[in-house]
Amino acid sequence: MPDSAFLEAFGLIATANADLYEILWLSVQVSITALLISVFLGFPIGTTLAILDFRGKNLCTTLLNALMGLPPVVVGLLVYLALSRSGPFGVLGLLYTPTAMVIAQVVLITPIIAALTYQVMDDLHREYRELFLSLNIQLPKAISTYLWDARYSLITTVLAGFGRAISEVGAVMIVGGNIDHLTRVMTTAIALETSKGELAIALALGVVLLTLALIVNGLVTAVRTRARKYGYT
């Protein structure tokens, strides 16, 4: 079975299967869009939590860490109920669209980005706050220094978010509906082929998805190595 799956995967890629590229491209679009929004939300949330001292901070960070384990199916169900025509945001008509999938993924990934950002920034803040205080360095300058200093850890954070987004199936299946040529992505296509008993095709799609993840991570590693080499670390 694995042998034929690899053959199938190469076949799909080599023949430039139009359906495959459509599905793959939608997967990338949805995940990257969700990732950008999540980074936009998650970095400030994590950083704020790390820098500010307030009552209930421990509760907030515990909650945030727990949200990293949000079950996708539950998120899918909540977003479905919210976007359903009879739900509070039903008038927007967003259910069964790529936008609905982006929303579900943002809910899933933002806590991951925020919690990991918090961890990174908290460590730096603990280490440098007194030094910066003694040098009379203002908070905005301190934060930008932290961000620059932590850029590689933050890239890993973003990659973790991307990994979760591109591999997720439970939520996008419910809110997207796995509609052909509209909301079908790699993971829901894999689920569909499995349910049709077409295990070789399903596995082939899995190989393609894995390859995509490898390429993305490979690119990031390459950028990192290059930056190190030229002394930008």
Binding site: L36, R85, G177, L182, S195, K196, E198
Partner: protein, 272 residues
């Protein structure tokens, strides 16, 4: 290109296609049972529907029970399922306009080649189910309130057997779609009941084959209903009705009847 410009270009490239898919003019959502999708029927008819009527039909394939609930929540324009009494209830409660018979096929009981319950060739469902129980053979059920699950429960009841009491021992409810349930059955060498269309198209049969078929109680009727716009103002009733009219027309019916897999007809049109 500066970094800022690059980012802007990327974000525009990403967002435009996402936005454009929202504004498809004549498209409807069909809440459908899985068998019509997994069997490839929609791939066969929807391009022709598009050509004839200009309507893009988006299919959400879930179990019949879930499809009905989704339609009750107004998340679909047309309902295409196979559980007649539930469908009639759906219409009677005002959620749907009118139910029409669309097509039929039949259920079959499949199982491993070694046939531990010795039911191969039987045309009597009740006797076969009793034999499965008395031989303590395994049976995998959908367990998901789907049309097939409801039909299966009716057959157990007609045979005077209460499988729920054996749930977890010889009676195993997957709570999943037909395909996933068949994968499970093949994996554990258990009997399962499936609609014939899904079975013929199913790609992971292993050494499984059809053991029981031909009992009139295995009849499987599909119906189609327009979701009631009075209840759900968002329903695209004219496009939805146009799709239903097409399905029930002579042309639609003959195209449904012409769908074959491995030389076998999967659905038999029977609109009035």
């Amino acid at each position: 290109m500066t970094l800022k410009e690059t980012l802007r270009t990327i974000s525009i490239a990403l967002f435009i296609p996402l936005g454009s898919t929202l504004a498809v003019a004549d498209s409807i959502i069909v809440q459908s049972t899985t068998s019509t999708k997994n069997s490839g029927l929609y791939d066969h008819i929807l391009p022709i529907v598009k050509e004839d009527t200009g309507i893009t039909v988006n299919v959400v394939a879930v179990g019949t029970g879930q499809a009905i609930k989704n339609a009750q929540r107004c998340d679909g324009d047309v309902l295409l399922v196979h559980a007649k009494s539930s469908e009639e209830k759906f219409v009677a409660q005002g959620f749907g306009i009118k139910r029409s018979d669309l097509m039929y096929n039949d259920f079959v009981i499949v199982g491993p080649n070694n046939d531990p319950a010795r039911i191969q060739g039987s045309k009597d469902v009740s006797k076969s189910l009793s034999a499965i129980v008395s031989n303590r053979a395994l049976f995998v059920s959908r367990g998901d309130d789907s049309g097939t699950h409801k039909a299966e429960l009716r057959l157990w009841q007609a045979s005077g057997i209460d499988p729920a009491s054996a749930s977890g021992s010889w009676y195993r409810e997957t709570g999943s779609g037909m395909g996933a349930t068949l994968n499970t059955a093949v994996g554990m060498g258990a009997y399962a009941m499936t609609d014939r269309a899904t079975w013929i198209k199913f790609g992971n049969k292993g050494d499984f084959k059809i053991h029981v078929e031909g009992d009139t109680r295995l009849f499987n009727q599909y119906g189609v209903i327009l979701v009631n716009p009075k209840n759900c103002p968002n329903v695209k009733s004219s496009a939805g009705q146009q799709f239903i009219d097409w399905l029930l027309s002579d042309r639609g019916q003959s195209i449904i009847g012409s769908y074959q897999v491995n030389g076998k007809q999967l659905f038999f049109p029977n609109a009035n």
